[in-house]
Symmetry: D2
Subunit: 452 residues, 4 copies
């Protein structure tokens, strides 16, 4: 998971790009970057760290020009090194090209090996670099033609912003795995992964970039944008996990609000997996809050914030050597004893991956006095790895990939456990946002032929 | 507001002190420090920044010994300079003494002036240093005697931890303005401002240090602690604002849980200031969440998280020069449009100081589509400055100190506004936690004769 | 000008490489780097700054393996950015290759343009990268074959160390513009730009790598090294400016000691340009010291250190805004008044480039009381730019390129001025070190056909 | 050893103070600081490191006002902590006072103990703080009266600059151990440890502050300065080691030029300790250069720079773990083999303290091929510790304190060794600069009664 943001035709392009990335920080915390241009030279800055640490006012000042693209990185392919931070900026016979990419290209290793045999030299271990090499070798003179040529050769998930001296191009792969939206800010064209970026800068949401669409904004006529559909059409396969966990609740995503979607999942969960004897519904904050509100609404059991989340978690933390306590999870979360003491409680979380954190939370709730714990998850069991840009662990590490439901319950340490069914999930999602979702992480049904 | 933490007779004293400060980070973010001792030399480290940034494992390793006190600073008296970070560590004829202080000494400037006339030289502009100078000039040989001598000369609020080569001493002023609790961790004695620090390290809560109590833990017999009441007895005046805003919801404070207290204030608020036509109750996160839950419960209006708080606010933030938008507040908070669009909403916050943030939130909610806004505050109007350790602005800056309620409503920009009454507040607080509160910030009734 | 160092078959390869670079610091202060290998993976570290700042013991510890090459950079081609620091480390179909380069490739821009047309993508603006791209496209399987193929296509100056998973290769261009020597350290093979690096680590000097020679040290048989001469033979053209200014006085360079060479130049200068009335000979420290000693010896005029050089010049320096004084040069140099007051003095410097510093020194000496100043330069007037790796200014900036000798004297502000003649220089240099020098910066006679 | 600098009545006071400290860097490299004032508030900045690293243009900009004092620290008394950096700035009943001190107060520990008994609290372990405490307790209203009161109670070496809101005061102890001079810069009054600071900023040297003199420059009438002699008169005892090693060669010190003094010592040394068979005289650079020139002049043996000093010694240096080589000394110094091979050489150094570096140099020269080494030292054997501000080791560590001359020679590893005699030293120094020197480090004759 990563975030991308772009803006054309604005005299504070890099500052607005910075703000956009700030609001998309949840999609990637390892590093961030911006490339801007005045229509001639590119200006670039990339660094590890959070957006607010990466950029200073001096840095932004040096990112000149009226067009800019940005990226926040959450490592998927490629090790976490400086060279892998995006936007990638490279010079070839086509001139310079900068690329921000959200997604993952399944056949990148094969293409890289082939190009190296022909004398190409790769800078990074980043799958995105493949696109630029394919463009450089396309024989095309136009950036857009070279890009179409390159993208026809890659397979996988990509929402892309491509900046050059002449245009900003936005593209979304034919499956539409990852989101990409466009809008306007006082007449300037903007692009972002999620609409919360538009809210922050005051931009007006217009629409999604469609799966398979390429939108070209030429700098000499920024309002004269062109929309193409140069690729073979596919059935759309939007990532349902964006709704469940990835996106910010205040965002419009695939056309629907995330918070309301999550509440609906919570209501469905309450119908499928009720907990009739429970006295209070508690979310695991913050990701479980919306589903817990929906669960409480449907079940008529009172909602309460019986688990408190701390806002002061630093990046590093030093644990006492001989402590017998799970200090890690308690630094972030703590139970409010009097709120749950001697009660039968429902605890709602959005998903379970490895299960180790859930297990620690249950232990904490027991120690705080909970009498009975009904653990409810507003998604199906996560059984398969994602090859389209989410950093899920290998199958071996996924708790639900091998364990029967009772074994999961025992490992986690709750009294009852209930997941939302895949059918329930799809019913809610399709009801609100229409057909066409990838649910491979729950079902193993991968839309692409190869899976890396 | 500041936090203090102390531990005696534990082989990982400084590591546990670090964890304790971590959990008390909400009480002071400007800087932190620890002084530890092996019963002979003191080891000190203080730095600006959050606890997780201040200390490294190397630093903690150098903070040797089995006793330690710590402090997180939120500037009250004295400019924000290195010299004002605590624990203060100073050497005098009594040997070295380290002090962590939560509170504010009203007569510190007078005492400082007098001592300077007699040739004393002050290092900091920190009121706490007065205590050490008074100790040094007491003529006493014993640390505890010197401390009693000094404290008899100061006036104001203090919860103190005093470390020397022979003991750790905990004291709370006779009014008991600020909290201070004690407990045990596998037999080691611990002290903290709030119980959430005990939860993190797994310590057992025992009781409050009483107003006017001095507890001495000698290193040679750490279980042979002594409790004294060396000061003139006063009516207790615990800070009610600790319940309203300062403390962490999961803490026991003055013997009662903070989250439950806030829910009770929300219920009382719903009775005093109902909003019958409202369709949904939204908290201003995170400080308004508990009261909003209470309000929703009492009023039977559904609770929802229609305002989202971002966790990625850096310390610095660069605003575009010509933006017309209030980016500052939107970086932290954003409205979930579909949740409140065209609705009559109740917005619950814990208190209003200057009113400028509330005004921006109302504007954001209007832009997101709220039809009608009932703003409800789970405390009375803040009309007076605090002289006992909270950094409230001067009276001129307090919105409610001069404005009539209708002017406040217009400034903030809501349709109706409702505060909890002082009587309502006191009824709820005294019902749960007994009599004896300072409410000077709401009433102007200062318990001490002078007010600085 | 840059420095290169390499070592094979030593268990502390990177530590010794670090020491070698330390002693070659005078050849490049902008940045430094080391790439080491265990015969499988490469380990790399590069940073701006002096060698002692670039590396920490932690960094060296992570540079594992028994072979390493290093580089200190003094920018010649390419802007001063991180990407241009060396050793360059790149991955191609040949596997990874690391290159340290001292020199300058004249036809690099042409080659780069051609390769970009064929789809190659360059990372840096560094001429050295051309070699790696040519290797990658050579169609060869062997690193050494690919390197020979590449070097046959480039023109200019290069002393190179090339590290791969199987060998370290040292090469010097057929003209031999820049130095490169080899030796042994307890049986391990070492390479360096100058012999002072061997003195520091205790290595034994063996011989120069000959112009046009390629020496291959395979890791599996480090003592079984091979020497080839794969290029068309050229007349050797060693850089005479290395003797005049660049090299360290304690180094053996092109087989002769630099300090002794400079003293000989000073003696020749005294014969060609005597100053019979002078009472004392003063060097401009440190670069003029050896020639001044030679001048004093030949002329029988006493030598003295009447100009003092400070050792505490930081990288940055803040000048008062309204000072009327040339503080810059005086921070570094100051005259010893009593040593030269009312005297006729000879001031000896090694060369004059722009002349602005010389002018400031003359002014300083006048203010200190010198009665008469005979300025003597132990090299001919610098009239042409260097295209073989020295960062001389453009011809327009060279004082002697356009000004007659009398104009130069007036500009600098001395009473008499005397340069060593080109014939005198060549006589001394060839006498000691044999025929075959490039003196294009003094004569404009460039050995290569093109000059960039 | 430390340096002090002060300036009054100049609109760029702190920038000139910075330059002055820059030129006095050789007197202390541990840290530096400046306190300036606009006649009302003090502005202070102190940090560890070299002057050029300590101050930025931003820092200097914040050091406002028209008067400033500065200090570079070379630790003598007190550990190397931030709190011990100078100028000390403290607030007392007299207002704020800042002090820069070069020297050492022998009875500081006794006074500190007494004052602590009376309730004073010390911030640092710095002897200078004693002066400020004595001033604060003097009962005087005037800064100058309080200062006189304080200085009458201390014993030892002090050249002081004292800044307050009303004046800058310069004082030198009655013995005049350490230097202190005054001059003018376009009418502004300046003070410095050595005259090289005046050369850099273009100030005019006027005279020494006399032993026992106090010069007061009131801000309201900066030209109306007053000179007092408030202390009991003593025989002057200027530090002869300043001439031998401490001061910069281009400085006027105690009225005489240091470089010329050192040449004279070298000439005397050649007379006392000739080396008739030697072929060349080599200095240990840089401190032995002047004496070597004098030695060569007197003995008619040619001078040469056969030992090269590197300018690129960083503060930290990482030695290979298993190196058998003395890399430390060789990083700084290297022999020029061809210059000394098979020769009988004279090596001149200014003094020998522990002898370990001399021993390493001899080893290096032998390895470079020297046939015979005559080691000559332009000072007597250092046999006693200094209590007046120079950081000499304890007597046990002084090579010459216990060893007979032959044992010293064997330890160092030269063929012959020759020191300048105490009589010879005194004859030269007194001839040029008049009577009145402290030579306790060579003779053990301490001028003060106690010696700490």
């Amino acid at each position: 998971m990563c975030a991308i943001f772009g803006i054309v035709d604005h005299h504070e392009a890099s500052s607005l790009c910075y703000l956009g990335l700030h609001s998309l920080q949840h999609r990637g915390q390892e590093g961030a970057g911006i490339v801007s241009t005045d229509g001639s030279e590119p200006f670039a800055y990339r660094k590890k760290g959070h957006v607010s640490e990466v950029f200073s006012s001096g840095t932004l000042h040096r990112l000149k020009g009226t067009a800019a693209i940005g990226h926040t990185r959450y490592s998927t392919t490629g090790a976490n090194t400086m060279a892998n931070l995006q936007p990638l900026l490279m010079k070839s016979g086509l001139g310079w090209v900068a690329v921000s990419h959200n997604g993952n290209l399944i056949n990148a290793p094969t293409i890289t090996a082939n190009l190296e045999k022909q004398g190409s030299i790769f800078q990074s271990t980043n799958d995105t670099e493949v696109i630029i090499h394919l463009m450089a070798r396309s024989g095309q003179q136009e950036i857009s033609e070279a890009l179409i040529h390159a993208l026809k050769l890659v397979e996988g998930a990509y929402s892309l912003l491509v900046l050059s001296r002449e245009s900003l191009i936005a593209v979304r792969d034919p499956y539409g795995f990852r989101p990409l939206i466009t809008g306007t800010l006082n007449g300037s064209r903007v692009f972002a992964s999620e609409s919360c970026a538009f809210d922050l800068i005051g931009a007006k949401y217009e629409r999604e970039i469609e799966p398979g669409e390429m939108m070209i904004v030429p700098f000499n006529r920024p309002k004269g944008l062109k929309s193409l559909f140069p690729f073979e059409k596919k059935e759309r396969k939007r990532c349902v996990f964006e709704y469940i966990y990835l996106a910010r609740p205040d965002s419009l995503l695939f056309g629907e609000n995330v918070h309301e979607m999550r509440k609906a999942l919570g209501r469905k969960l309450a119908k499928e997996q009720p907990a009739p004897d429970a006295e209070v519904v508690l979310p695991v904050p913050d990701s479980g809050v919306a589903a817990a509100i929906g669960f409480a609404e449907e079940s008529k059991i009172p909602f309460d914030m019986g688990i408190i989340r701390s806002h002061y978690i630093g990046r590093t933390f030093i644990e006492p050597r001989q402590s017998t306590r799970d200090v890690g999870v308690r630094l972030k979360l703590n139970a409010v004893g009097p709120t749950l003491k001697n009660k039968s409680i429902v605890v709602v979380d959005d998903s379970v991956v490895r299960g180790t954190t859930s297990r620690k939370i249950m232990k904490m709730l027991r120690e705080a006095g909970a009498r009975k714990i009904h653990f409810r998850v507003s998604a199906p069991p996560t059984t398969h790895s994602c090859f389209y840009g989410i950093d899920t662990p290998t199958r071996q590490e996924l708790l639900a990939s091998s364990s029967a439901i009772e074994a999961v319950r025992q490992f986690i340490g709750c009294d009852t456990i209930g997941y939302l069914s895949l059918e329930g999930l799809m019913e809610v999602a399709e009801n609100k946002a229409g057909k066409g979702f990838c649910h491979a992480c729950f079902s193993g049904k991968y839309p692409t032929e190869s899976t890396g």
